[in-house]
């Protein structure tokens, strides 16, 4: 069995301290596919607004926005997961990470689901576009399978290294 990533461990811990081993997840759509992320770390969802491009950064780092006086970095998961982009009516999901707030562009919200730990397969070895460091697991819902991701992990240290070398 593969060892759990740090994001997966954090999720297990959250499940352990939750009532009846169940947590709420926010389910959203990007590029026609369904993804989910823990509601615990989701701060808010805002309408898409102009994103200021940032020099030097990797393509999926979209730029920064002004969130009530705070400058928040925004990433585009669709670029990261190589999914088709539709700019017309997207939303920005604001999540909390250990380093502060981070925004992620998503196409639409689907629902909020309460999911048992037993419904999530953390070791699934399904071929997935989601890079391993922010893959939390596959949730088996009644009618579908949902990729669970850790959004704040989507900007890996590897990405930041790429950035550092391109800048210098």
């Amino acid at each position: 069995m593969k060892p759990l990533s740090s994001s997966q461990k954090a999720l297990s811990d959250a499940f352990a301290s939750a009532e009846e081993n169940a947590l709420s997840f926010i389910i959203f759509k990007i590029g026609g596919e369904i993804y989910g992320t823990p509601l615990l770390t989701t701060r808010e969802v805002i309408r898409h607004r102009e994103i200021k491009p940032t020099p030097y950064m990797v393509p999926h780092f979209k730029g920064v926005i002004n969130l009530r006086g705070q400058i928040v970095s925004v990433i585009d998961l669709r670029i990261k997961f190589q999914l088709p982009c539709d700019e017309s009516q997207s939303l920005i999901l604001i999540v909390e990470s250990e380093h502060g707030l981070l925004g992620a562009v998503v196409d639409d919200l689907v629902s909020v689901e309460t999911i048992q730990q037993t419904q999530i397969d953390q070791t699934a070895s399904i071929e997935t576009k989601v890079p391993v460091e922010f893959f939390l697991g596959i949730a088996k819902l009644e009618d579908r399978l949902v990729n669970m991701v850790d959004i704040s992990g989507c900007l890996s240290s590897e990405d930041l290294r790429v950035l550092a070398s391109s800048a210098s």
Partner: protein, 576 residues
């Protein structure tokens, strides 16, 4: 959770801090030769209050130590003890012990400071033993300094996240000598408030934009908006003043440092301070402390000759070091001048060549030669003294100052003295910025970094292989960099020589670093603006050339550049 008694103690410790600061100032006057009965009375009163309050809140050990101190001061008051140099040193060292004690108590209310050694000295003074004998039992002063550093680590104070902001009402006609009532406010609360006010200002100006485009119909709404605009402006003014605090405590600390350093090196120094009332942002005050300490130590150690050297060249033995501050619009200008030996430009150049910092045949003006001291790895004194040669060079001072959006310059005359001039923004939260367009994006360059702006079409741009582009502006040959290329290299990688240029204008910003000028080409100049600085997310905090974020007055986010970051060694050839 604190019980009532602990609350009392904590309140006392805050009071104690200011009592000690006041006492230190009085001792320094005493040390400088002021023997007036008023001064001695004042010292006595302060010490008495300190002892009494300590006893009231139940800090018995501290109070006993205070009692011993008071007894020595009684001898002083009676005239049985003369405040000669050695006596003043013991008294100041005692104060250091008090400060360490108070700092220790702030962390742990049961803290007991070891005062045995200093008590021996005080007892000697009290019993009328000569001051020299008192010094004989004295441990070296440095040890005291070090033990003090142990108990007051800056992190501890920071961890509490409570800054002592002096929330003064903004009344211009401040009654002098009457202490104003102050409140302590947590730094986080204050930052949140300032953040929200910043947002309020931005939103207000957006609504005002609707009014200006006749998008508001109701005349009452327009009238109300006009009133609101004024109120918001006032609130913004007050909010920036909330973080302001006088520079006097720092000046006092530096005075003490100069005094101790002068005494260690046996140099007679008169340290003069001017303009202590100027107020700066608390953060600026904190961050400028180390660089200024370094400069003051340097002035006393390297700048000032020994008394005998001074007499030999016909100067008075007593040297004068002046530290002054003045407010100039939204900046504070701090000058530190001495009438010491000054700098010899030829010696500086020779040293720089020897250290391999500049090529041997490089021709430098005197001003450029003086700026050499800011180069990393430069130090003119052969012997590293324990005073200022701690591996921290002037380059560190300069880096610290430019991190505060400030700059430092030097004026010196060989044989006559040296003057450092530091100019800093009063506030770290709002700066005057030049809004420029680079590759169709808006960026902010702090006005403090700019010397002038030019239109490149009026100049002949020369390209030279390996050295990039340059042009001649009056008498200077100025290297030219392209900010669009530096910030967006990928766009230009494929199209190295034919940059896309829609406008016929070619504006450029001129900046100066170490006496040399550099030009940065941009696409457009929008004009000046007051810019509210913002922290950037962790992902983009280390981007080269970008020092902060900003919310522009249209509400959109922007980036604040530091032009000096683009001027690192070797980048000259890649740039243009």
């Amino acid at each position: 959770m604190f019980d009532f008694e602990d609350d009392l103690k904590l309140a006392f410790l805050d009071e104690a801090q200011s009592l000690l600061d006041e006492t230190e100032a009085a001792f320094i006057s005493l040390d400088e030769g002021d023997r007036s009965p008023e001064l001695i009375d004042k010292i006595f009163r302060l010490a008495h209050n300190f002892k009494g309050s300590a006893k009231t809140v139940g800090l018995v050990h501290l109070s006993n130590f205070g009692h011993l101190f008071e007894e020595v001061l009684t001898q002083l008051k009676k005239g049985a003890l003369t405040p000669e140099k050695a006596v003043c040193t013991v008294l100041l060292t005692t104060l250091d012990n008090f400060k360490a004690y108070v700092a220790g108590l702030k962390v742990d209310l049961t803290y007991v400071h070891d005062v045995s050694e200093i008590s021996l000295k005080l007892n000697a003074l009290k019993d009328g033993t000569s001051a020299v004998a008192a010094m004989a039992v004295a441990p070296p002063e440095i040890e005291v300094g070090e033990s003090r550093a142990e108990v007051e680590p800056a992190e501890l104070a920071k961890a509490k996240e409570v800054a002592n902001f002096q929330a003064e009402p903004l009344i211009e006609t401040r009654v002098k000598a009457v202490e104003e009532e102050t409140l302590k406010v947590g730094r986080k609360k204050l930052d949140t408030l300032l953040n929200l006010i910043g947002e309020l200002v931005v939103n207000q100006s957006m609504v005002a934009g609707f009014r200006d485009q006749n998008d508001l119909q109701n005349p009452m709404a327009i009238q109300t908006l006009n009133v609101m605009e004024k109120i918001v402006l006032d609130i913004q003014g007050i909010s920036t003043a909330l973080r302001m605090t006088p520079i006097s405590p720092l000046f006092q600390k530096l005075k003490r440092i100069a005094r101790d350093a002068g005494q260690n090196l046996e140099k007679t120094i008169q340290f003069v301070t001017e303009g202590e009332h100027v107020e700066v942002d608390k953060i600026v005050l904190e961050k400028i402390s180390d660089p200024l300490t370094h400069l003051v130590r340097n002035a006393v150690d390297h700048g000032i000759e020994t008394d005998s050297e001074r007499m030999a060249c016909g100067k008075s033995a007593k040297s004068i070091v002046t530290l002054s501050s003045v407010q100039k619009e939204d900046r504070i200008v701090i000058t530190l001048s001495d009438n010491g030996r000054g700098m010899n430009p030829q010696k500086l150049i020779a040293k720089a060549v020897e250290k391999g910092l500049i090529p041997a045949n490089e021709k430098l003006s005197d001003e450029q030669a003086y700026s050499l001291i800011f180069k990393p790895g430069f130090s003119t004194k052969e012997q590293v003294t324990d005073m200022s040669g701690r591996g921290v060079g002037m380059d560190v001072v300069q880096t610290a100052i430019s991190a505060l959006h400030g700059h430092i310059s030097i004026a010196t005359k060989f044989g006559e003295g040296t003057q450092f001039t530091i100019s800093l923004p009063l506030s770290m939260s709002i700066i005057a910025g030049m809004l420029v367009g680079i590759d169709q994006k808006k960026y902010v360059v702090p006005i403090s970094q700019l010397v002038e702006t030019v239109e490149l079409n009026h100049f002949r741009i020369e390209s030279s292989t390996g050295r990039g582009q340059m042009f001649k502006l009056r008498e200077d040959v100025i290297p030219l960099y392209s900010l669009p290329r530096l910030l967006h290299p990928s766009i230009f990688a494929a199209n190295e020589f034919g940059a896309v240029r829609e406008s016929s204008h070619r504006p450029a910003l001129i900046t100066a670093l170490n006496g040399k000028k550099f030009a940065f080409e941009i696409d457009q100049i929008f004009g000046q603006q007051q810019i509210v600085l913002k922290k950037l997310g962790y992902e983009i905090q280390e981007l080269p050339g970008i020092v902060a974020g900003a919310i522009l007055n249209t509400g959109e986010p922007g980036f604040v550049l530091n032009l000096a970051d683009f001027l690192h060694e070797g980048s000259a050839s890649e740039a243009a």
